[in-house]
Protein backbone atom coordinates (compact mmCIF):
# COMPACT_ATOMS: atom_id res chain seq x y z
CA UNK A 1 0.00 0.00 0.00
CA UNK A 2 1.65 3.16 -1.13
CA UNK A 3 -0.54 5.10 1.25
CA UNK A 4 1.34 3.67 4.19
CA UNK A 5 4.61 5.02 2.90
CA UNK A 6 2.98 8.43 2.31
CA UNK A 7 1.63 8.16 5.83
CA UNK A 8 4.97 7.30 7.30
CA UNK A 9 6.64 10.22 5.54
CA UNK A 10 4.05 12.68 6.78
CA UNK A 11 4.37 11.20 10.23
CA UNK A 12 8.12 11.53 10.23
CA UNK A 13 7.82 15.20 9.48
CA UNK A 14 5.69 15.75 12.54
CA UNK A 15 6.84 13.42 15.25
CA UNK A 16 9.52 10.81 15.23
CA UNK A 17 8.25 9.12 18.38
CA UNK A 18 4.97 8.08 16.87
CA UNK A 19 4.51 4.31 17.05
CA UNK A 20 4.75 2.57 13.71
CA UNK A 21 1.26 1.88 12.43
CA UNK A 22 2.31 -1.08 10.32
CA UNK A 23 3.41 -3.03 13.36
CA UNK A 24 -0.08 -3.05 14.76
CA UNK A 25 -2.13 -3.95 11.76
CA UNK A 26 -2.65 -7.52 10.67
CA UNK A 27 -1.74 -7.75 7.01
CA UNK A 28 -4.58 -7.13 4.63
CA UNK A 29 -6.96 -5.96 7.31
CA UNK A 30 -7.85 -2.66 5.65
CA UNK A 31 -9.21 -2.76 2.15
CA UNK A 32 -8.39 0.12 -0.11
CA UNK A 33 -11.12 2.67 0.62
CA UNK A 34 -12.83 4.26 -2.34
CA UNK A 35 -13.54 7.93 -2.63
CA UNK A 36 -13.09 10.79 -0.28
CA UNK A 37 -13.58 10.94 3.45
CA UNK A 38 -16.99 12.39 4.10
CA UNK A 39 -18.37 13.93 7.28
CA UNK A 40 -20.69 11.00 7.71
CA UNK A 41 -17.80 8.53 7.62
CA UNK A 42 -15.95 10.56 10.20
CA UNK A 43 -18.91 10.90 12.53
CA UNK A 44 -20.02 7.31 12.18
CA UNK A 45 -18.80 5.60 15.31
CA UNK A 46 -21.39 2.84 15.06
CA UNK A 47 -18.91 -0.05 14.58
CA UNK A 48 -17.05 0.83 17.77
CA UNK A 49 -20.28 1.35 19.69
CA UNK A 50 -21.60 -1.96 18.41
CA UNK A 51 -18.49 -3.74 19.66
CA UNK A 52 -18.83 -2.12 23.07
CA UNK A 53 -22.51 -3.02 23.35
CA UNK A 54 -21.72 -6.53 22.13
CA UNK A 55 -19.21 -6.88 24.93
CA UNK A 56 -21.76 -5.69 27.48
CA UNK A 57 -24.31 -8.23 26.27
CA UNK A 58 -21.98 -11.21 26.03
CA UNK A 59 -18.26 -11.70 25.98
CA UNK A 60 -16.05 -14.70 25.48
CA UNK A 61 -13.85 -13.97 28.48
CA UNK A 62 -16.61 -14.13 31.12
CA UNK A 63 -17.92 -17.29 29.49
CA UNK A 64 -14.65 -19.08 30.36
CA UNK A 65 -15.24 -18.69 34.06
CA UNK A 66 -18.95 -19.39 34.23
CA UNK A 67 -19.92 -22.58 35.99
CA UNK A 68 -22.45 -24.02 33.59
CA UNK A 69 -24.98 -25.83 35.77
CA UNK A 70 -26.23 -29.19 34.55
CA UNK A 71 -29.88 -29.59 33.58
CA UNK A 72 -31.93 -30.71 36.58
CA UNK A 73 -33.34 -34.15 35.88
CA UNK A 74 -35.18 -34.88 39.10
CA UNK A 75 -38.32 -32.77 38.73
CA UNK A 76 -40.71 -35.60 38.28
CA UNK A 77 -42.68 -37.74 40.73
CA UNK A 78 -40.70 -40.93 39.96
CA UNK A 79 -37.23 -39.47 39.88
CA UNK A 80 -37.48 -37.08 42.81
CA UNK A 81 -37.72 -39.74 45.54
CA UNK A 82 -34.83 -41.57 43.88
CA UNK A 83 -32.82 -38.40 43.93
CA UNK A 84 -33.65 -37.86 47.61
CA UNK A 85 -32.48 -41.39 48.33
CA UNK A 86 -29.34 -40.59 46.42
CA UNK A 87 -28.74 -37.53 48.58
CA UNK A 88 -29.13 -39.61 51.73
CA UNK A 89 -26.68 -42.21 50.43
CA UNK A 90 -24.19 -39.61 49.30
CA UNK A 91 -24.19 -37.48 52.42
CA UNK A 92 -25.01 -40.15 54.97
CA UNK A 93 -23.03 -43.15 53.78
CA UNK A 94 -20.51 -42.25 51.11
CA UNK A 95 -19.27 -39.04 52.67
CA UNK A 96 -18.40 -40.46 56.09
CA UNK A 97 -16.74 -43.49 54.45
CA UNK A 98 -14.69 -41.20 52.26
CA UNK A 99 -13.69 -38.99 55.16
CA UNK A 100 -12.59 -42.13 56.97
CA UNK A 101 -10.59 -43.35 53.99
CA UNK A 102 -8.93 -39.97 53.67
CA UNK A 103 -8.13 -39.80 57.36
CA UNK A 104 -6.60 -43.29 57.29
CA UNK A 105 -4.62 -42.26 54.23
CA UNK A 106 -3.28 -39.18 55.99
CA UNK A 107 -2.35 -41.14 59.10
CA UNK A 108 -0.43 -43.73 57.08
CA UNK A 109 1.20 -40.99 55.08
CA UNK A 110 2.31 -38.97 58.08
CA UNK A 111 3.47 -42.05 59.95
CA UNK A 112 5.75 -42.91 57.05
CA UNK A 113 6.66 -39.48 55.84
CA UNK A 114 7.83 -37.86 59.05
CA UNK A 115 10.29 -40.62 59.98
CA UNK A 116 11.58 -40.83 56.41
CA UNK A 117 12.02 -37.08 56.24
CA UNK A 118 13.81 -36.80 59.56
CA UNK A 119 15.81 -39.99 59.77
CA UNK A 120 17.08 -40.28 56.23
CA UNK A 121 18.50 -36.77 56.16
CA UNK A 122 21.86 -38.07 55.05
CA UNK A 123 20.69 -40.43 52.34
CA UNK A 124 19.16 -37.91 49.99
CA UNK A 125 18.57 -40.17 47.02
CA UNK A 126 16.75 -42.82 48.98
CA UNK A 127 14.82 -40.23 50.94
CA UNK A 128 13.65 -38.49 47.82
CA UNK A 129 12.58 -41.76 46.28
CA UNK A 130 10.53 -42.72 49.32
CA UNK A 131 9.01 -39.27 49.62
CA UNK A 132 7.94 -39.37 45.99
CA UNK A 133 6.22 -42.70 46.54
CA UNK A 134 4.50 -41.37 49.60
CA UNK A 135 3.24 -38.27 47.81
CA UNK A 136 1.89 -40.49 45.06
CA UNK A 137 0.22 -42.57 47.75
CA UNK A 138 -1.54 -39.65 49.42
CA UNK A 139 -2.73 -38.45 46.04
CA UNK A 140 -4.23 -41.87 45.39
CA UNK A 141 -6.04 -41.59 48.69
CA UNK A 142 -7.32 -38.15 47.71
CA UNK A 143 -8.59 -39.40 44.39
CA UNK A 144 -10.22 -42.35 46.14
CA UNK A 145 -11.93 -39.97 48.52
CA UNK A 146 -13.95 -38.52 45.67
CA UNK A 147 -14.23 -41.85 43.93
CA UNK A 148 -12.19 -40.53 41.09
CA UNK A 149 -12.61 -42.53 37.92
CA UNK A 150 -9.63 -41.45 35.88
CA UNK A 151 -8.79 -42.93 32.53
CA UNK A 152 -5.23 -42.34 31.42
CA UNK A 153 -4.45 -42.49 27.73
CA UNK A 154 -1.05 -42.48 26.13
CA UNK A 155 2.44 -43.37 27.28
CA UNK A 156 3.27 -42.58 30.90
CA UNK A 157 5.62 -39.62 31.38
CA UNK A 158 9.23 -40.67 31.69
CA UNK A 159 11.84 -39.11 33.93
CA UNK A 160 14.10 -37.43 31.43
CA UNK A 161 15.96 -34.17 31.74
CA UNK A 162 15.10 -31.17 29.58
CA UNK A 163 11.40 -31.71 29.45
CA UNK A 164 8.38 -29.95 30.91
CA UNK A 165 4.76 -31.00 31.01
CA UNK A 166 1.96 -28.57 30.31
CA UNK A 167 -1.73 -29.06 30.87
CA UNK A 168 -5.02 -27.19 30.80
CA UNK A 169 -6.26 -26.14 34.21
CA UNK A 170 -9.71 -26.59 35.71
CA UNK A 171 -9.12 -26.97 39.42
CA UNK A 172 -6.33 -27.67 41.84
CA UNK A 173 -7.38 -31.31 41.72
CA UNK A 174 -5.77 -31.45 38.26
CA UNK A 175 -2.48 -31.62 40.07
CA UNK A 176 -3.67 -34.44 42.34
CA UNK A 177 -5.10 -36.43 39.45
CA UNK A 178 -1.81 -36.21 37.58
CA UNK A 179 0.37 -36.64 40.64
CA UNK A 180 -1.09 -39.99 41.57
CA UNK A 181 0.45 -41.42 38.41
CA UNK A 182 3.74 -39.56 38.24
CA UNK A 183 5.65 -37.55 40.82
CA UNK A 184 5.63 -34.20 39.09
CA UNK A 185 7.20 -31.10 40.47
CA UNK A 186 4.82 -28.24 40.01
CA UNK A 187 4.76 -24.49 39.85
CA UNK A 188 1.90 -23.07 41.86
CA UNK A 189 0.41 -19.88 43.18
CA UNK A 190 1.09 -19.69 46.91
CA UNK A 191 -2.21 -20.16 48.70
CA UNK A 192 -3.21 -19.20 52.22
CA UNK A 193 -4.54 -21.57 54.85
CA UNK A 194 -4.07 -25.31 55.03
CA UNK A 195 -3.28 -25.54 51.37
CA UNK A 196 -0.35 -23.20 51.85
CA UNK A 197 0.84 -25.35 54.73
CA UNK A 198 0.76 -28.45 52.55
CA UNK A 199 2.55 -26.56 49.82
CA UNK A 200 5.44 -25.53 52.03
CA UNK A 201 5.94 -28.86 53.72
CA UNK A 202 5.03 -31.89 51.69
CA UNK A 203 5.15 -30.55 48.19
CA UNK A 204 8.64 -29.26 48.92
CA UNK A 205 9.81 -32.83 48.70
CA UNK A 206 8.72 -33.32 45.12
CA UNK A 207 10.25 -29.99 44.26
CA UNK A 208 7.85 -27.12 43.83
CA UNK A 209 8.24 -23.57 42.69
CA UNK A 210 6.09 -20.81 44.16
CA UNK A 211 5.02 -17.60 42.61
CA UNK A 212 2.80 -14.74 43.50
CA UNK A 213 0.55 -13.41 40.77
CA UNK A 214 0.36 -9.97 42.28
CA UNK A 215 4.09 -9.35 42.32
CA UNK A 216 5.44 -8.11 39.02
CA UNK A 217 9.11 -8.62 39.90
CA UNK A 218 8.32 -12.20 40.75
CA UNK A 219 8.32 -13.11 37.05
CA UNK A 220 12.07 -12.90 36.58
CA UNK A 221 12.76 -14.88 39.73
CA UNK A 222 10.30 -17.53 38.66
CA UNK A 223 11.75 -17.80 35.15
CA UNK A 224 15.16 -18.32 36.67
CA UNK A 225 13.88 -20.99 39.04
CA UNK A 226 12.13 -22.76 36.17
CA UNK A 227 15.31 -22.85 34.16
CA UNK A 228 17.34 -24.17 37.09
CA UNK A 229 14.83 -26.90 37.75
CA UNK A 230 14.69 -28.07 34.17
CA UNK A 231 18.46 -28.21 33.88
CA UNK A 232 18.83 -30.41 36.98
CA UNK A 233 18.82 -34.06 35.94
CA UNK A 234 17.72 -35.31 39.30
CA UNK A 235 14.66 -33.17 39.64
CA UNK A 236 11.19 -34.46 39.08
CA UNK A 237 9.63 -33.58 35.72
CA UNK A 238 8.07 -30.15 35.95
CA UNK A 239 4.33 -29.71 35.46
CA UNK A 240 3.14 -26.28 34.41
CA UNK A 241 -0.37 -24.94 33.90
CA UNK A 242 0.30 -22.21 31.35
CA UNK A 243 -3.21 -20.75 31.52
CA UNK A 244 -2.28 -19.34 34.90
CA UNK A 245 -5.80 -19.66 36.28
CA UNK A 246 -8.66 -22.15 36.54
CA UNK A 247 -10.96 -22.22 33.52
CA UNK A 248 -14.31 -23.98 33.35
CA UNK A 249 -13.17 -26.95 31.20
CA UNK A 250 -15.14 -25.79 28.16
CA UNK A 251 -12.62 -23.22 26.97
CA UNK A 252 -8.90 -22.58 27.06
CA UNK A 253 -7.44 -19.12 27.60
CA UNK A 254 -4.10 -18.05 26.21
CA UNK A 255 -1.04 -19.90 27.39
CA UNK A 256 1.74 -17.91 29.02
CA UNK A 257 4.95 -18.25 27.11
CA UNK A 258 7.15 -18.88 30.18
CA UNK A 259 6.96 -22.64 29.83
CA UNK A 260 7.81 -22.50 26.15
CA UNK A 261 11.03 -20.54 26.25
CA UNK A 262 13.00 -22.93 28.45
CA UNK A 263 14.78 -24.60 25.53
CA UNK A 264 13.35 -28.02 26.23
CA UNK A 265 10.76 -30.46 25.02
CA UNK A 266 7.19 -29.66 25.95
CA UNK A 267 4.90 -32.63 26.60
CA UNK A 268 1.23 -31.61 26.44
CA UNK A 269 -1.34 -33.22 28.72
CA UNK A 270 -5.05 -32.74 28.15
CA UNK A 271 -7.58 -33.20 30.97
CA UNK A 272 -11.30 -33.31 30.39
CA UNK A 273 -13.77 -33.81 33.21
CA UNK A 274 -17.08 -35.48 32.64
CA UNK A 275 -19.81 -33.43 34.30
CA UNK A 276 -22.12 -36.39 34.63
CA UNK A 277 -21.99 -36.42 38.44
CA UNK A 278 -20.27 -33.21 39.40
CA UNK A 279 -18.70 -30.17 37.81
CA UNK A 280 -15.03 -30.23 38.71
CA UNK A 281 -14.46 -26.58 37.81
CA UNK A 282 -13.15 -24.73 40.83
CA UNK A 283 -14.66 -21.26 40.61
CA UNK A 284 -12.28 -19.63 43.05
CA UNK A 285 -14.46 -16.53 43.17
CA UNK A 286 -17.47 -18.48 44.33
CA UNK A 287 -16.04 -21.10 46.68
CA UNK A 288 -12.99 -21.83 48.76
CA UNK A 289 -10.94 -24.90 47.98
CA UNK A 290 -12.27 -26.62 51.10
CA UNK A 291 -15.87 -26.15 49.95
CA UNK A 292 -14.88 -27.37 46.51
CA UNK A 293 -13.38 -30.55 47.97
CA UNK A 294 -16.45 -31.11 50.11
CA UNK A 295 -18.61 -30.76 47.04
CA UNK A 296 -16.55 -33.40 45.28
CA UNK A 297 -16.65 -35.71 48.26
CA UNK A 298 -20.44 -35.59 48.45
CA UNK A 299 -21.00 -36.44 44.80
CA UNK A 300 -21.10 -39.91 43.29
CA UNK A 301 -17.83 -39.74 41.42
CA UNK A 302 -15.41 -37.51 39.61
CA UNK A 303 -14.94 -38.85 36.11
CA UNK A 304 -12.21 -37.61 33.88
CA UNK A 305 -9.93 -38.45 30.99
CA UNK A 306 -6.25 -37.67 30.89
CA UNK A 307 -4.38 -37.80 27.64
CA UNK A 308 -0.59 -37.75 27.54
CA UNK A 309 0.12 -36.28 24.12
CA UNK A 310 3.11 -36.35 21.81
CA UNK A 311 6.07 -34.28 23.02
CA UNK A 312 6.62 -31.11 21.02
CA UNK A 313 9.70 -29.10 20.29
CA UNK A 314 10.16 -25.53 19.16
CA UNK A 315 10.13 -25.59 15.37
CA UNK A 316 12.81 -23.62 13.54
CA UNK A 317 11.61 -20.06 13.00
CA UNK A 318 8.82 -20.40 15.54
CA UNK A 319 8.54 -17.88 18.35
CA UNK A 320 7.74 -19.08 21.90
CA UNK A 321 4.30 -17.45 21.62
CA UNK A 322 3.54 -19.35 18.41
CA UNK A 323 4.83 -22.52 20.05
CA UNK A 324 2.53 -21.92 23.03
CA UNK A 325 -0.43 -21.41 20.71
CA UNK A 326 0.37 -24.55 18.77
CA UNK A 327 0.49 -26.63 21.94
CA UNK A 328 -2.73 -25.00 23.16
CA UNK A 329 -4.31 -26.03 19.90
CA UNK A 330 -3.19 -29.63 20.37
CA UNK A 331 -4.56 -29.76 23.91
CA UNK A 332 -7.83 -28.01 23.02
CA UNK A 333 -8.54 -30.33 20.12
CA UNK A 334 -7.84 -33.44 22.18
CA UNK A 335 -10.00 -32.36 25.12
CA UNK A 336 -12.74 -30.77 23.02
CA UNK A 337 -12.23 -27.26 24.39
CA UNK A 338 -12.81 -23.99 22.56
CA UNK A 339 -10.00 -21.51 22.37
CA UNK A 340 -10.46 -17.88 23.36
CA UNK A 341 -7.89 -15.17 22.68
CA UNK A 342 -7.75 -13.78 26.20
CA UNK A 343 -5.08 -13.72 28.87
CA UNK A 344 -6.28 -15.55 31.98
CA UNK A 345 -4.77 -12.89 34.22
CA UNK A 346 -7.43 -10.43 33.02
CA UNK A 347 -9.49 -12.11 35.73
CA UNK A 348 -7.34 -10.22 38.23
CA UNK A 349 -6.39 -7.03 36.41
CA UNK A 350 -7.49 -4.63 33.71
CA UNK A 351 -6.13 -4.77 30.14
CA UNK A 352 -3.05 -2.62 29.66
CA UNK A 353 -3.06 0.36 27.27
CA UNK A 354 -1.06 -1.68 24.76
CA UNK A 355 -4.15 -3.70 23.97
CA UNK A 356 -6.03 -0.68 22.78
CA UNK A 357 -3.36 0.33 20.36
CA UNK A 358 -4.43 -2.14 17.72
CA UNK A 359 -7.86 -0.53 17.63
CA UNK A 360 -6.34 2.91 17.34
CA UNK A 361 -4.18 1.88 14.44
CA UNK A 362 -7.16 0.74 12.42
CA UNK A 363 -9.05 3.98 12.95
CA UNK A 364 -6.10 6.17 12.12
CA UNK A 365 -5.31 4.38 8.97
CA UNK A 366 -8.83 4.91 7.69
CA UNK A 367 -8.75 8.63 8.39
CA UNK A 368 -5.29 9.35 7.18
CA UNK A 369 -5.42 7.16 4.12
CA UNK A 370 -8.67 8.71 2.96
CA UNK A 371 -7.35 12.15 3.77
CA UNK A 372 -4.17 11.63 1.84
CA UNK A 373 -5.83 10.06 -1.15
CA UNK A 374 -7.35 13.39 -2.25
Amino acid sequence: MSEISKLNSSCSELDLDRPNLEDYLPTGSIQQPHGKLRLRDLLDISPTLTEAAGAIVDDSFTRCFKSIPPEPWNWNVYLFPLWCLGVVVRYGILFPVRVLVLTIGWIIFLLCYIPVHLLLKGHDKLRKKLERCLVELICCFFVASWTGVVKYHGPRPSMRPKQVFVSNHTSMIDFIVLEQMTPFAVIMQKHPGWVGLLQSTILESVGCIWFNRSEAKDREIVTRKLREHVEGADNNPLLIFPEGTCVNNHYTVMFKKGAFELNCTVCPIAIKYNKIFVDAFWNSRKQSFTMHLLQLMTSWAVVCDVWYLEPQNLKPGETPIEFAERVRDIISVRAGLKKVPWDGYLKYSRPSPKHREQKYAKHCLIYLVLHLSW
Binding site: L21, R38, L43, I45, V57, Y360, H371
Partner: protein, 175 residues
Protein backbone atom coordinates in the same frame (compact mmCIF):
# COMPACT_ATOMS: atom_id res chain seq x y z
CA UNK B 1 -38.17 -6.56 40.62
CA UNK B 2 -36.34 -6.20 43.92
CA UNK B 3 -32.61 -5.82 44.06
CA UNK B 4 -31.63 -9.20 45.41
CA UNK B 5 -33.90 -11.61 43.59
CA UNK B 6 -32.49 -13.46 40.66
CA UNK B 7 -35.82 -14.36 39.13
CA UNK B 8 -38.04 -12.16 37.07
CA UNK B 9 -41.78 -12.38 37.25
CA UNK B 10 -43.96 -12.05 34.18
CA UNK B 11 -45.03 -8.59 35.41
CA UNK B 12 -41.41 -7.48 35.63
CA UNK B 13 -40.67 -8.67 32.11
CA UNK B 14 -43.70 -6.85 30.74
CA UNK B 15 -42.79 -3.67 32.60
CA UNK B 16 -39.28 -3.73 31.18
CA UNK B 17 -40.58 -4.54 27.73
CA UNK B 18 -42.90 -1.57 27.84
CA UNK B 19 -40.13 0.70 29.03
CA UNK B 20 -37.99 -0.20 26.03
CA UNK B 21 -40.90 0.14 23.62
CA UNK B 22 -41.07 -3.56 22.81
CA UNK B 23 -37.71 -3.48 21.08
CA UNK B 24 -36.67 -6.69 22.83
CA UNK B 25 -38.63 -9.90 22.99
CA UNK B 26 -39.48 -11.42 26.36
CA UNK B 27 -36.87 -14.14 25.88
CA UNK B 28 -34.22 -11.52 25.14
CA UNK B 29 -35.16 -9.65 28.30
CA UNK B 30 -34.72 -12.83 30.34
CA UNK B 31 -31.29 -13.38 28.75
CA UNK B 32 -30.33 -9.78 29.44
CA UNK B 33 -31.39 -10.25 33.04
CA UNK B 34 -29.14 -13.27 33.40
CA UNK B 35 -26.30 -11.22 31.97
CA UNK B 36 -27.13 -8.30 34.27
CA UNK B 37 -27.01 -10.58 37.31
CA UNK B 38 -23.76 -12.08 36.10
CA UNK B 39 -22.12 -8.65 35.84
CA UNK B 40 -23.69 -7.28 39.04
CA UNK B 41 -21.56 -9.39 41.37
CA UNK B 42 -23.08 -8.55 44.72
CA UNK B 43 -26.70 -8.16 43.62
CA UNK B 44 -26.85 -4.44 44.31
CA UNK B 45 -29.39 -3.83 41.56
CA UNK B 46 -27.00 -1.95 39.32
CA UNK B 47 -23.66 -2.60 37.63
CA UNK B 48 -20.79 -0.43 38.80
CA UNK B 49 -18.14 1.02 36.47
CA UNK B 50 -15.59 -1.42 37.84
CA UNK B 51 -17.79 -4.38 37.01
CA UNK B 52 -18.24 -3.16 33.44
CA UNK B 53 -14.50 -2.77 33.14
CA UNK B 54 -13.97 -6.35 34.29
CA UNK B 55 -15.14 -7.38 30.82
CA UNK B 56 -11.85 -7.06 28.93
CA UNK B 57 -13.57 -6.67 25.56
CA UNK B 58 -15.39 -3.63 26.91
CA UNK B 59 -12.42 -2.17 28.77
CA UNK B 60 -10.35 -2.27 25.59
CA UNK B 61 -12.91 -0.38 23.55
CA UNK B 62 -11.74 3.19 22.79
CA UNK B 63 -15.17 4.60 23.66
CA UNK B 64 -15.54 2.65 26.90
CA UNK B 65 -15.12 5.70 29.17
CA UNK B 66 -17.83 7.63 27.32
CA UNK B 67 -20.22 4.72 27.40
CA UNK B 68 -19.41 4.11 31.03
CA UNK B 69 -20.78 7.56 31.89
CA UNK B 70 -24.03 6.53 30.24
CA UNK B 71 -24.41 3.05 31.76
CA UNK B 72 -22.79 3.35 35.16
CA UNK B 73 -25.31 2.76 37.93
CA UNK B 74 -28.30 2.00 35.74
CA UNK B 75 -30.87 -0.39 37.14
CA UNK B 76 -32.06 -3.27 34.99
CA UNK B 77 -34.95 -1.39 33.36
CA UNK B 78 -32.74 1.49 32.32
CA UNK B 79 -30.00 -0.94 31.26
CA UNK B 80 -32.39 -2.60 28.83
CA UNK B 81 -33.62 0.78 27.61
CA UNK B 82 -30.04 1.80 26.88
CA UNK B 83 -29.33 -1.39 24.97
CA UNK B 84 -32.58 -1.14 23.04
CA UNK B 85 -30.93 1.29 20.63
CA UNK B 86 -28.87 -1.70 19.49
CA UNK B 87 -31.87 -3.88 18.78
CA UNK B 88 -32.51 -4.77 15.14
CA UNK B 89 -36.01 -3.32 15.55
CA UNK B 90 -34.77 0.07 16.71
CA UNK B 91 -35.32 2.97 14.32
CA UNK B 92 -32.49 4.81 12.63
CA UNK B 93 -33.22 8.10 14.44
CA UNK B 94 -33.00 6.25 17.79
CA UNK B 95 -29.60 4.84 16.90
CA UNK B 96 -28.39 8.20 15.66
CA UNK B 97 -29.61 9.78 18.88
CA UNK B 98 -27.36 7.44 20.86
CA UNK B 99 -24.41 8.38 18.67
CA UNK B 100 -25.25 12.04 19.22
CA UNK B 101 -25.32 11.53 22.99
CA UNK B 102 -21.88 9.92 22.87
CA UNK B 103 -20.50 13.04 21.21
CA UNK B 104 -22.47 15.52 23.30
CA UNK B 105 -20.83 14.94 26.67
CA UNK B 106 -22.09 18.15 28.28
CA UNK B 107 -25.66 17.36 27.30
CA UNK B 108 -26.39 20.80 25.92
CA UNK B 109 -27.89 19.43 22.71
CA UNK B 110 -25.05 20.79 20.57
CA UNK B 111 -21.99 19.03 19.21
CA UNK B 112 -19.13 21.42 18.57
CA UNK B 113 -15.86 21.12 16.68
CA UNK B 114 -14.10 20.31 19.93
CA UNK B 115 -16.63 17.65 20.88
CA UNK B 116 -15.93 15.84 17.63
CA UNK B 117 -12.20 16.31 18.14
CA UNK B 118 -12.48 14.70 21.57
CA UNK B 119 -14.12 11.62 20.14
CA UNK B 120 -11.55 11.46 17.36
CA UNK B 121 -8.84 11.62 19.97
CA UNK B 122 -10.41 8.73 21.90
CA UNK B 123 -10.49 6.70 18.72
CA UNK B 124 -7.07 7.48 17.35
CA UNK B 125 -5.01 7.79 20.53
CA UNK B 126 -1.36 8.52 20.03
CA UNK B 127 -1.35 7.57 16.37
CA UNK B 128 -2.41 10.99 15.18
CA UNK B 129 -1.40 14.39 16.45
CA UNK B 130 -3.98 17.00 17.45
CA UNK B 131 -2.91 19.04 14.46
CA UNK B 132 -3.56 16.15 12.07
CA UNK B 133 -6.97 15.57 13.61
CA UNK B 134 -7.92 19.24 13.35
CA UNK B 135 -6.75 19.32 9.78
CA UNK B 136 -8.79 16.31 8.75
CA UNK B 137 -11.88 17.48 10.61
CA UNK B 138 -11.75 21.06 9.28
CA UNK B 139 -11.46 19.92 5.73
CA UNK B 140 -14.20 17.36 6.03
CA UNK B 141 -16.56 19.83 7.74
CA UNK B 142 -15.95 22.39 5.05
CA UNK B 143 -16.68 19.81 2.39
CA UNK B 144 -20.05 19.15 4.01
CA UNK B 145 -20.93 22.80 4.23
CA UNK B 146 -20.12 23.48 7.88
CA UNK B 147 -17.41 25.56 9.51
CA UNK B 148 -15.19 25.13 12.57
CA UNK B 149 -17.58 27.34 14.51
CA UNK B 150 -20.70 25.37 13.62
CA UNK B 151 -22.53 23.44 16.29
CA UNK B 152 -24.33 20.36 15.08
CA UNK B 153 -27.75 19.58 16.47
CA UNK B 154 -29.47 16.20 16.58
CA UNK B 155 -31.32 17.03 13.36
CA UNK B 156 -28.01 17.72 11.62
CA UNK B 157 -26.73 14.36 12.81
CA UNK B 158 -29.82 12.63 11.50
CA UNK B 159 -29.41 14.37 8.16
CA UNK B 160 -25.74 13.43 7.92
CA UNK B 161 -25.85 9.90 9.25
CA UNK B 162 -29.19 8.58 8.06
CA UNK B 163 -28.00 6.33 5.30
CA UNK B 164 -28.85 2.72 4.50
CA UNK B 165 -25.34 1.54 5.38
CA UNK B 166 -25.49 2.47 9.06
CA UNK B 167 -25.64 -0.74 11.03
CA UNK B 168 -25.63 -0.74 14.81
CA UNK B 169 -27.08 -4.03 15.94
CA UNK B 170 -26.26 -6.42 18.71
CA UNK B 171 -27.80 -9.85 18.95
CA UNK B 172 -28.86 -10.97 22.40
CA UNK B 173 -28.00 -14.66 22.78
CA UNK B 174 -31.09 -16.60 23.73
CA UNK B 175 -30.61 -20.12 25.08
Amino acid sequence: MGNASSTLTQYDIEEVQEHCNNLFSQQEIVSLYQRFCQLDRNAKGFISADEFLSVPEFAMNPLSQRLLKMVDGLNFKEFVAFLSAFSAKASMPQKIELIFKVYDTDRNGKVTFNDILDVLRDLSGTFMSDKQREEVLSQVLQEAGYTRESSLLLDDFVKILDKPGLKMEVEVPVD
